[in-house]
């Protein structure tokens, strides 16, 4: 599986309250959540984002609340992959469980800039910044998590047994 798109870049500790503010948690509609994605730190994100774009951030991405609405909003806004130095653990679980590809790669998270064109190969974990020509190797998922992703998310994985 591969993804390619334009990068939207953020810093450290992007929390779930800014990914999707709680005032919009009175709905579980994916498109409605997507329409408010990132609005408290990047008001124009929903206008700029295109299908397939890539989000890159630094450490502890998705810290805070357990709201699955956060990865849902990111995925439904068209983002094909999130790359960060580290992810907060509940966000990490949620992203895998709902099928939003995420990769941990410190060098890529530091060097890739907003607006860069980036491609990601999920099978090898190789991240290519097409704009700068630099190549990065992300940590691959452990086999157990790969099996959840291969089954199409946690619920399919559980109900398959």
């Amino acid at each position: 599986m591969k993804a390619q798109g334009t990068v939207h870049k953020y810093g450290d500790n992007v929390d779930t309250d800014v990914i999707i503010p709680a005032r919009y948690l009175n709905t579980s509609s994916h498109s409605e959540l997507a329409s408010h994605c990132m609005e408290d730190i990047d008001i124009d994100f929903t206008k700029r984002v295109k299908e397939g774009d890539i989000m890159v951030a630094e450490k502890n991405f998705g810290c805070g609340s357990s709201r699955e609405h956060a990865p849902i909003a990111i995925k439904a806004s068209g983002i094909s992959c999130v790359i960060a130095s580290t992810f907060a653990r509940i966000f990490y679980r949620n992203a895998i469980n709902i099928g939003l590809p995420i990769l941990e790669c410190e060098a890529a998270s530091k060097e890739i800039k907003s607006g860069d064109e980036v491609s990601v190969d999920f099978d090898t974990g190789i991240i290519t910044d097409i704009t700068t020509g630099k190549i990065y190797q992300a940590e691959p998922f452990p086999p157990f998590i790969q099996s959840i992703i291969a089954d199409g998310g946690l619920i399919n994985h559980v109900t398959k047994k």
Binding site: R23, S28, I41, K59, S66, H69, T86, R89, N97, V158
Partner: protein
């Protein structure tokens, strides 16, 4: 190699003799929790996955607390969806308006979690129950749905960081000051993916509410769980209350910790986390008397809405008035706390001081309702997060503090050391 307390609970629930950090396991769950925000997403996943039954209708809890009593039509629809599901599957621990309280105050109080329990909840502050010697952690809605179907969850066995608490805390120092101090020291990702295990002779000075508050905010350091060893203080709370079978687990002497911190509780000072991260901790001594003017004080939440929290706030507010221009909102965490506070005359103290007292709800903590901030406004609050826009407008500010600091600040109109109030 020995195991930590958290690892022992995970091993026991995975039917394994031992586990080690990094190992992926599947473990049996004693309790699966959701609220009015996260349960609707879980129910959709449950239904879309074709599930037709829950694994055990006594081991699922659903608490309508975040936007309940319903704040608007959409919130009402979400609660209605959960109510229908709870009726259909005969969920025994469904708590609606009248019985509900803030989930992480309610579950311990109702005896639904206790020593040795393994619990997941679709709410990040599920880590609260570690105060009772349980392994308890927050997950998302899909994990909740899978847990409701299978009664199991996968875990990567966490490594641990040890916090040895020594000495006796001074007057006005509560669990909130302890955890804000720790987060200030290690940062918001200081315990990322790890267990925070508390020990030391200072534990005997921390009552059960202090411990629930400390474990509650383990997530604010990125931790998977926070956990306390079971002692007489725990047993006094859980005996006759916990409906399951209490099992006490203790860390082995040779358990491995990635780091160990010794914290002398006697040296702690009232601590406040400045915007916009819980790690921005400062003691009251580092804050000028009129440096931080506030518009609102909130005393409540799953962190600090318990009876000893309300007592600490009332002690300071008794016979005093909330400062002009400050809105003070007190939210007992559960119906039982509310009733107890009424019987003790605390509610009268708050109302006479010019504060309001609300029915239990998460309300303003996450910017839901019941105390939203306008542009440029500041709140001192006993809640757990001070992220950008957490309690309202993106240009508002949230300062996290103990009930004593919040009450003292409500009285003066500025963030204030509670000891300064006494001297007046």
């Amino acid at each position: 190699m020995g195991m930590t307390m958290s690892q022992k609970i995970l091993a026991a629930h995975a039917d394994l003799d031992s586990v080690k950090a990094g190992q992926l396991i599947e473990a049996k769950l004693d309790m699966v929790l959701g609220n009015d925000i996260t349960s609707p997403v879980a129910i959709n996943v449950f239904n879309d996955g074709g599930a037709t039954q829950v694994f055990d209708n006594t081991k699922i809890a659903m608490v309508m607390d975040h936007f309940a009593p319903n704040k608007d039509i959409k919130a009402a629809e979400q609660c209605a969806q959960v109510r229908r599901f709870a009726n259909k599957y005969d969920i025994k621990n469904y708590f609606d308006v009248g019985q509900m309280g803030i989930e992480h105050a309610l579950l311990p109080e109702k005896g639904l979690v206790g020593p040795g329990s393994l619990c997941i909840g679709a709410d990040s502050h599920t880590c609260t129950y570690g105060a009772l010697g349980a392994f308890s952690t927050g997950v998302g809605s899909t994990d909740m749905a899978a847990g409701m179907i299978s009664g199991k969850a996968w875990f990567k066995v966490p490594s641990a960081v040890k916090f040895v608490l020594t000495g006796k805390p001074a007057e006005y120092i509560s669990g909130k000051d302890v955890i804000l101090h720790i987060i200030g020291m290690i940062g918001v990702d200081g315990a990322l993916y790890k267990s925070m295990e508390f020990s030391g002779d200072g534990l005997k000075y921390l009552n059960i509410d202090d411990r629930l508050c400390i474990a509650n905010m383990a997530i604010e350091a990125g931790a998977k769980n926070g956990i306390f060893p079971v002692d007489d203080i725990t047993r006094e709370y859980t005996n006759g209350r916990f409906k399951g079978e209490a099992k006490e687990y203790y860390a082995d002497d040779d358990a491995e910790y990635e780091a160990e911190y010794v914290i002398d509780l006697s040296k702690l000072r009232p601590t406040v986390a400045f915007p916009h991260l819980p790690e921005n901790a400062r003691t009251v001594d580092e804050i000028g008397k009129t440096e931080v003017k506030i518009d609102q004080a909130v005393i409540g939440s799953c962190t600090n809405g318990r009876i000893t929290d309300l007592r600490a706030a009332a002690e300071i507010m008794k016979g005093r008035k909330v400062a002009d221009g400050v809105r003070c909102i007190v939210i007992p965490a559960t119906q039982s706390v509310y009733l107890q506070a009424m019987r003790e005359g605390l509610l009268e103290t708050f109302i006479e001081a010019g504060a309001i007292v609300s029915t239990p709800t998460c309300g303003p903590c996450l910017g839901g309702y019941m105390g939203i901030l306008a542009k440029g406004e500041r709140a001192v609050t006993t809640t757990n997060r001070n992220f950008v826009g957490r309690m309202g407008h993106v240009e508002s500010e949230v300062y996290l503090a103990s009930p004593a600091v919040a009450a003292a600040s409500a009285v003066t109109g500025y963030i204030t050391d509670p000891a300064a109030i006494e001297k007046d």
